[in-house]
Amino acid sequence: MRIQDLQGKMEEQFRNHIIGSSPLRNELYLEVDSSGIKEICSSLESEFGCSLISLFAMDERENKGHFTIYYAFAERSAGLLIVLTVTVDPSQGIFPSISTKIPAAALYEREIQDLFGLHPLGHPGGKRLVFHGNWPENCRPLRRDFPLSSRPAFADEKMEFSTINGEGVFEIPVGPVHAGIIEPGHFRFSLAGEPILNLEAQLYFVHRGIEKLSEGKSIEKGFYISERISGDETFTNSLAYCQSIEKIAGIKVPDRAEYTRVLFAELERLTSHLGDLAGVCLDVAYGFAAYQIRMIRGWSYRVADELCGMRFLRSVNKPGGIRRDFVAGKEESLIALLKEIKKELEDTVDIVMHNSQFIDRVENTGILSNRIAVDLNASGPGGRASGIPYDVRKSFPYAAYGSLDFQVPVQNDGDVSSRVKVKVAECFQSISLMIQVIETMPTGEIKTELGMLAPYQFAFGLTESPRGENVHFIMTGENQTLLRYKVRTPSFCNWPALCHAVKGNIVPDFPLINKSFNLSYAGNDL
């Protein structure tokens, strides 16, 4: 489907509700009146087969006198984005909730309520999301008149959790501080004996105000903020940032830079997946396999060391290209190292996947059904293990992925075993991609000048992070600054999916299921 066809079709079907429409690159922007938004959204999902990938608000009271809410949908087969915008009158401060039609919208709407103080009318559950009891009501940080330096009073309110009553049903609180060096998150289990009836995850303990912080920052500073969203997704976040800035600037990044970006993105994926696989093995007390995979992960850090001397892969990217020619002269040693990793990983996987006790632990554990995965827009290995054959690298090809050869592994059972299999297969795909990139890398420039960015321009940047679909939205302000930077990492969509996958399993299996998703707490809570 071409974007003009889509535009025509939409305009005809919803001519009463659409106020204006403008296609821009592969993004179709439609201005919609708020009475029709629910109908359009649900038909976009059911008839056009689109998925809601981001939903956010913007405070445009200064220049337009209202708030705007953006609904971003992805048409994945054609690689199109459909962005609906609805204006919200500041004096009323309400907008219609679409969560009853599109479950994935529920979290975004709660986020908007917390950060902007706009009320989603008809939302099924109104509990606060981003801020806990100690943040005062009526303190809305993403409104532009909220100063960054203000220190809100400490509102000492108790957290509330949904409770399940019944004989023998009890709750166990876990966290927010956990054993081991992991991020903070509180999990409230409702149990009947060992089986879990319900899990409520109270996250958002690491709110750093990234979206507020980037308001008015220069393009350069915004880039550094994007690198610090989530430690192990540094490169992919910076890539999504660069992608949106480059779209706004309308420049074409040199091929050599595009290929190098693929190399780093796949290295990040490989390292992340190896860490997850080691974690899964350790959680079932399979020490041999865990340490073996950790050793291979150490080798992938050697690749990072060889390339840029840093395992976080920071300051590699740059809007307009990459900072240095990281690959030149290292081709042979890199390929030798990658082949070594591949061989050792093949041997290890062969042992692990033939261990019947290991298989017994991971099979049928933590099943995420396809229906729930689709409804919650679960992406990445978590979604692909539940039969969603979606990968941003194929649907919205970026960097050099369009000209490289790779497969997207898909499994249908949705259990821990499927996620492990998907991750294992992706590790091999990543290694093969990296070797391809090094072998076929074109010579030439590594960066182009960004030039001046016009104000009030906007674009989406989509990348496939190790955890899944990563959506960044940027709107530029005056004088080469950022007006709005909205980030939605895959963890935001996958956390609710995890809570569903846990139900019906027993408590000792929770760490294993959690590890098979391995979601980011910091990436979820900006």
Binding site: V174, D283, A285, Y286, Q357, D360, P508, F510
Partner: protein
């Protein structure tokens, strides 16, 4: 007099050797993971460190919480008095002392479960409920195994049973020994919280069994609890070493030299069993919690088959 001296030697050897068993198992596991691992003597250092540290006690804890470390350690230590490390010298014995031994260990466990519930923390309760489930599942197989050996030895005194086992020649020619030996190995894994029943190295509270009960303990209380667990582990290994791998009959001479050699041989067998346990831990994966009854059933069936074998084939 000699009897008492021998019992004291036996107690000392078990108390001194117990932390090392843990070190040997950990060392073997580290080597399988291409790691150097902690020193074999690490547990001694840890115990020494913990004993000098302050013990933090929760405000809500009752006397049970404070008394439990002493009960756990002293039941294990008294248990050590009952288990001869060598059959060459007489030691304190009476009929039914093996039942007393397992009752003492059960007493320690009972208080450990209570203490874990006492502070009202999240994980303690989960740990005790799981521990109670596992121990009640494994108990039938313990009783059946020791009574089978008791039938062969015609006694329920540990010393008598061990002596009887030295006289049977090659125990591996009799199916009854092999079956009860395997049953006892599974019992050791379950009783000492090893993989596949529990993971002693885990940091994940939600999956813990034994460790979850110790989470609230610190300082010298923790030292006593861990020491008690190590002693209990060695007691069980001593039983297996002297009942199923008897070597005292191989010593051709008598006297003090024979006694010392017998203790040395005992140490060799303990090290051997530690390596066997380490290899089991390395090569298996922790079972799904609700699969543990299958393991307990396997142990019970093995001991029951041994029991039947005794009636069919005799000794």
């Amino acid at each position: 007099m000699i009897v008492i001296a021998n019992n004291l030697i036996q107690l000392l050897v078990i108390l001194l050797l117990a932390p090392m068993v843990d070190g040997i198992i950990k060392k073997c596991k580290s080597l399988s993971q291409k790691r150097q691992g902690s020193p074999v003597l690490q547990m001694y250092y840890d115990l020494f460190k913990l004993i000098r540290k302050e013990s933090v006690v929760s405000d809500t804890a009752s006397w049970i919480y404070k008394a439990t470390p002493y009960i756990v350690f002293s039941t294990a230590a008294v248990g050590a008095l009952l288990v001869p490390i060598s059959t060459l010298m007489p030691s304190v014995q009476f009929s039914g002392d093996i039942i007393l031994l397992f009752s003492l260990l059960a007493l320690g466990r009972f208080f450990m479960c209570l203490a874990a519930l006492d502070t009202g923390s999240t994980f303690g309760g989960m740990g005790s409920s799981r521990e109670a489930l596992i121990s009640s599942l494994i108990e039938p197989s313990i009783l059946l195994s020791i009574f089978t050996i008791g039938l062969i030895a015609d006694s329920t005194s540990i010393h008598q049973m061990m002596r009887a086992m030295t006289e049977v020649g090659n125990p591996f020619l009799h199916p009854v020994y092999i079956l009860t030996f395997l049953a006892m190995l599974i019992i050791i894994l379950a009783e000492t919280s090893r993989i596949p029943v529990d993971d002693p190295a885990t940091h994940l509270e939600l999956t813990m069994v034994h460790e979850a009960m110790l989470l609230e303990y610190s300082g010298r209380h923790l030292a006593l609890m861990e020491y008690g667990a190590a002693v209990k582990q060695l007691i069980l290994m001593t039983l297996v070493a002297n009942l199923f791998l008897p070597m005292d009959q191989l010593i051709p001479f008598a006297g003090e030299g024979a006694f010392i050699l017998s203790i040395a041989l005992y140490a060799v067998r303990v090290i051997f069993l530690s390596v066997v346990i380490a290899i089991t831990e390395i090569s298996t994966v922790k079972f799904r919690f609700f699969s543990i009854p299958n393991l307990a059933a396997l142990s019970f069936i093995l001991s029951f088959l041994g029991f039947l074998q005794y009636f069919v084939l005799g000794r």
